[in-house]
């Protein structure tokens, strides 16, 4: 069951062997040396394993073939091509779409800049190079099908170009730019909101598509962060009323499905707010997601706080720091550092949950897919439409979870 778990059969004879070197020789080599050996060890190590391999290979080949044939022959991807704009930005007016592009370049530049400043370089083993080449060609093929016209090609290819420019600038400036990068990430979200909204921009009611999914998730995560920290500190507080209140808040919102909160945000929240303060549906949804998310962030931060060694609290007290300063200077910096991977996976979860907006009359990516396949000329193309939406989410969440795994290794979480 577990590799290398069988004792070498020769071990029983081991006491007879006098020279120590011989005993080492009988240990079977774990690392396969030839391709044939690899296949034997990994696919046909026993009769049972061989049968399993053959059967599952048959199943995989059959379904893989069917899938490929469907993707390249039967499927009609025109539904995605015709509705690309709805998928990405919903009902965002065409003449204002430049605002979205500008925001995308801003984020792309920041990503490139932080990459450059961090000094990380991609490692190019032959296998990774091949994988990246295949991936790149696939992306280009998909784009070649979807994008029509020189203008949109230039706009799209400018994104990797911006990332590259950021990387180069980051590498050149390295140390000095560190502060700029951090300030950039703090300011980028408000900047994007201003970019979309200000100067006769587009009101939130018509934001939509995948852009809305991303914006909502980012907004809720950012806004829920301070609330979550306060709730976590409140929960651990020695003041009984405050701690009970925080426990109640956290458990209530963690125990209830998000859908019920979304529906309440649509119908009840407008009644509860003062009549002068009427918020648009999207803003209310940001509020709902923030409240929901803060309950989870609170639990993550609490985990981080518990992970800080007791001695740190005692040491901080011993040097005479007040509770506030102890938390701000000693405990929280350590606790929050430990929560980074959990926060990323929380963000991924929240990001996926934004597709629940489809339950309301908001054109997010999922609703865009349903609308697209409801059009007269694309009836029956639900599979294609929904898979495109799924792929959009998958690309973002998968790369984020990979990034989070790398970060986890670099931060050494769990190794201390």
């Amino acid at each position: 069951m577990i590799p290398g778990s069988e004792l070498p059969t020769d071990l029983e004879r081991a006491p007879l062997i006098i020279e120590e070197e011989r005993a080492v020789e009988v240990a079977p080599s774990k690392v396969p040396t030839t391709p044939g050996e690899w296949v034997r060890q990994n696919l046909f190590s026993s009769i049972f394993n061989g049968v399993v391999t053959v059967l599952s290979a048959a199943v995989v080949l059959y379904f893989g073939f069917q899938l490929l044939r469907w993707i390249f022959v039967s499927a009609d991807w025109a539904v995605v091509k015709a509705n690309l704009r709805i998928y990405m930005v919903g009902r965002f007016p065409l003449e204002e779409v430049w605002r979205v592009w500008a925001s995308a370049y801003l984020v792309a530049f920041l990503i490139g800049l932080s990459w450059g400043v961090s000094g990380l370089r991609l490692r190019w083993t032959p296998r990774k190079a091949a994988l990246r080449a295949v991936l790149g060609v696939a992306v280009l093929l998909v784009l070649a099908y979807l994008l029509e016209g020189l203008r949109i090609w230039i706009l799209t290819l400018a994104i990797p170009a911006t990332v590259a420019a950021g990387v180069l600038l980051g590498r050149a400036g390295s140390r000095r730019l560190r502060g700029v990068v951090i300030a950039g990430w703090v300011l980028v979200f408000p900047a994007i909101i201003v970019l979309l909204r200000a100067f006769d921009g587009v009101p939130p009611q018509v934001w939509g598509g995948f852009m809305l999914n991303v914006l909502l998730a980012v907004a809720a995560t950012f806004l829920s962060f301070p609330v979550g920290i306060l709730l976590a500190l409140g929960r651990r507080s020695t003041l009984p009323i405050i701690s009970k209140f925080c426990v109640g808040f956290i458990e209530l919102f963690r125990g209830v499905p998000l859908v019920t909160l979304i529906i309440s945000g649509q119908f009840i929240l407008p009644l509860m707010l003062p009549p002068r303060m009427q918020l648009s549906l999207i803003v209310r949804m940001i509020l709902v997601f923030t409240i929901f998310s803060s309950a989870y962030v609170a639990e993550i931060v609490r985990g981080g706080l518990q992970g800080v060694h007791f001695g740190q609290y005692e040491a901080a007290k011993a040097v005479g720091l007040s509770t506030t300063r102890m938390m701000a200077l000693i405990i929280l910096p350590q606790a929050l550092r430990m929560t980074i991977p959990a926060m990323i996976s929380h963000f991924i979860g929240l990001f996926k949950d934004t597709s629940l907006l489809a339950a309301l009359a908001i054109t997010d990516a999922l609703r865009a897919a349903r609308r697209a396949s409801a059009q007269l000329e694309f009836i029956g193309d639900q599979k294609e439409a929904l898979l495109a939406a799924a792929l959009l989410f998958w690309v973002v969440t998968f790369s984020m979870s990979r990034w989070s795994q790398r970060l986890e290794r670099r931060l050494g979480v769990g190794e201390r």
Binding site: N49, I242, S264, M272, T354, A359, R370, L387, A390
Partner: protein, 399 residues
């Protein structure tokens, strides 16, 4: 802690002035907090009442007695002339139906996939990995709609009977029909035997433990208790005279007869929940097996246990203990996610509640009912998982 002690020590010598007395400050701070919270809630509540007044609604549960007037296609018996309360009960029963079955199936599926992730067979490992990575990284809502629209509704038409599986089960876009066991009148008699059987099996178990401790024979507790139970159950079956009957469905006159009929919505929701939660459970299973310290397995190996014994006696019991808390939260998630039935029109408690508040208003009351329902469900599941957790831990200590 430390601050409390030092403050107490100071207090004994000289009482500090009021504005620096920690107890006064704590009390005052909490009083301010309570006042602020109460004021905020009062404001929200007054706004709500004002808004409802304008809409001509009242904030009580009286409206739930009204006639429902809408039909619900599945669940316990119901007709549109019954009240909203009954409609909510139907919704709750549907939530439970999908959550309980979903939890059982997702556990089995997740366990299989989690073990497959650790298989020595490269192909199996990769298949499981692709499944986990594809499913975990796409939204459940998208998957659910996909299962419903692109898979279940795209099945062969129900008018012609759909896909027949050896004539004992049918799958079509109208319903999935599977054989089902039905209780006869004498089932009560058999049930008594079953209870006695369980008691006897437990007795046999503890008897085997004692024998094993006295004589150092292998205890074979599972075999003995299973055997005892099966024997008593078999006797009871004969005494009660066929207390259960297998109900095999038939396709007659363009309709299905007998068996258990699952609606397309139920099938899609169940599939989506099982596949989605299964991926998370698979990762938990894999993670907790890997989390058992390597030394444990090496020690077991050094003691000469066979690979099977190493897994069964050393690795799995410890992995189970690591796995239970995260699996509990997956069960809670599955239960909460059943509310996504709303997206495809499965009448569970959230979509029934939404229909009610669309028809008769009362969104606030409906929200309170939802909250009460899901908090109760969460507490119940956590209660059982805690029992399990305690049982597992105690067994670990005894050994």
């Amino acid at each position: 802690m430390l601050s409390l002690m030092s403050e107490a020590a100071v207090e004994r010598k000289v009482a500090p002035p009021l504005w620096r007395n920690i107890r006064v400050l704590r009390g005052f701070g909490q009083a301010v907090f309570v006042v602020v919270v109460v004021l905020a809630f009062r404001e929200l509540f007054l706004n709500l009442q004002f808004g409802l007044d304008r809409q001509g609604q009242e904030l009580n549960f009286e409206f739930l007695r009204q006639r429902a007037g809408f039909s619900i296609k599945e669940g316990i018996s119901y007709n549109p002339n019954q009240s909203f309360v009954r409609a909510l009960q139907v919704g709750l029963s549907n939530t439970l139906r999908v959550a309980v079955v979903g939890i059982v199936l997702a556990s089995i599926f997740g366990l299989i996939m989690g073990v497959a992730r650790l298989s020595t067979n490269w192909l199996i490992r990769k298949i499981a990995q692709v499944y986990v990575e594809a499913v975990r990284n796409t939204p459940l809502a998208v998957q659910l709609v996909f299962w419903y629209v692109a898979v279940v509704l795209a099945l062969p038409s129900g008018v012609s009977g759909g896909l027949s599986i050896w004539n004992v089960a049918f799958i079509s876009n109208r319903a999935s029909v599977i054989p089902w066991v039905r209780a006869e009148d004498t089932f009560g008699v058999w049930a008594i035997f079953l209870v006695i059987g369980i008691a006897a099996a437990l007795a046999a178990r503890s008897w085997r433990t004692r024998v094993s401790e006295r004589t150092a024979q292998p205890p074979r507790r599972f075999l003995w208790s299973l055997g005892t139970f099966l024997a008593i159950a078999a006797v009871g079956y004969v005494v009660a005279g066929n207390p259960v009957r297998l109900d095999v469905p038939k396709f007659v006159d363009r309709t299905y007869e007998g068996g258990a009929q699952l609606s397309p919505e139920y099938t899609a929701l169940l599939l989506a929940l099982v596949v989605y939660t299964g991926a998370f459970i698979a990762e938990i299973v894999r993670g907790s097996i890997l989390a058992v310290p390597k030394g444990q397995k090496e020690a077991a190996e050094a003691m000469g246990l066979t690979p099977r014994q190493q897994l069964r006696l050393v690795v799995l019991p410890q992995a189970l203990r690591i796995a239970i808390p995260p699996i509990n939260s997956q069960y809670l998630n599955l239960t909460k996610n059943s509310s996504l039935g709303l997206l495809i029109g499965f009448p569970e408690i959230v979509s029934v509640g939404r229909t009610i508040s669309n028809q008769a208003g009362g969104a606030t009351q409906v929200l309170l009912i939802w909250m009460a329902t899901f908090l109760t469900l969460s507490l119940t599941i956590s209660f059982f998982m805690n029992l399990l957790n305690r049982a597992v831990t105690r067994r670990g200590e005894r050994r």
